[in-house]
């Protein structure tokens, strides 16, 4: 089964999604979103992996060494940065929600509360 490592990405995605749907705490929700996003890192790195390839860093290695795909690794960096910024913004929103409602439970929120 040569596709088996890809299923790790599917597992992370749906476990994270399940956590987001059933969560009772906004901070937990942010963490679940992090798990969900980790699935994209895993999938990107797996797609660019080449059996026996080294990291695409050519310092101190002989010319012509087989290396994995650097393009998906660069995309993963973008992905990580976006993940961090989204987490920071969501936590700021959670903080404000807690100030207004005194709770972090999404079920305690009422729509359009001023």
């Amino acid at each position: 089964m040569n596709q088996l490592p890809y299923f790790l990405a599917a597992w992370l995605f749906f476990v994270g999604l399940y956590g987001m749907v059933t969560t009772r705490n906004f901070l937990h929700l942010v963490m679940c979103l992090g798990v969900l996003q980790a699935s994209t890192y895993v999938l990107l790195l797996e797609v660019g992996y080449r059996a026996g390839g080294t990291a695409p860093i050519f310092k101190d290695v002989p010319r012509g060494t087989r290396a994995v795909d650097p393009v998906v690794q660069a995309l993963t960096l973008t992905d990580v940065v976006v993940g961090v910024t989204v987490a920071a913004l969501l936590m700021a929103l959670a903080l404000q929600a807690h100030k207004r409602c005194g709770s972090l439970d999404p079920n305690d929120m009422r729509p359009m509360q001023g």
């Binding site: 310092k59 795909d69 690794q73």
Partner: protein
Amino acid sequence: MTARARVWLFLVPALGAAALFVWALTGLPDFGHYRGPYGDVVNARVIPERHATSAVAAVNFDYRGFDTIGEEFILFAAVVGVTVLLRLERDEHEESPRDRAERHASIEVADAVALACIGLVAPVLVLGVYVVTHGHLTPGGGFQGGVILAGGPLLVYLAGRYITLRQLRPKGVLDLGEGAGAGGFVLIGFVGLVAGAAFLENVFPLGSTGSVFSAGTLPVINVSVGLEVAAGITLIVYEFLEQALIVRAGR
């Protein structure tokens, strides 16, 4: 809607989506059999064309540099967003950190923790500068190094020196660093235009492969991004720490 109904409402479509996802995954090439061609082209051309040994950095800040400007401004926008969301509101006032420190005098940081944190500040900053400036040679770069640099102020806070941190009045400097870092990247892009080439084209001298001053615009962009990320992440942390000093009126 009850919690149980909500889970079912999620599970049914999620199972369908999962089935489609798994079906799509089975259509991918076998794991470990990368078929290219872009990664191979970059790996083969990065040293002759750019004199950089880190192909990832070359993709991020050169071949795909325009995209990374967008990425940098995502971070910029998020910092602005956090600052706006966590501003001082009408019914809030800020407690002076000295008052608060007196009220919470019992919460003392253990000497061993404080000493370890203060001792780590300088090495962490040096490591951050190293990672930023060697981004085009080894793993690392502006984003990674910038986050390490932001660890420095956080260690000062962990050492219980929050008052020291505030007395430094870092906000103006951080705002400046954030703006200068983000603007610097775009400015380096315009250097390409002024030199008669394309926006963000690598027009600086390439130097000899493997030295810190090589790879043309790569180290310059890395320093600019490092400045922006270090200032941005510190600002985000600072905004959250400020919240601990904000007291709502009537509570």
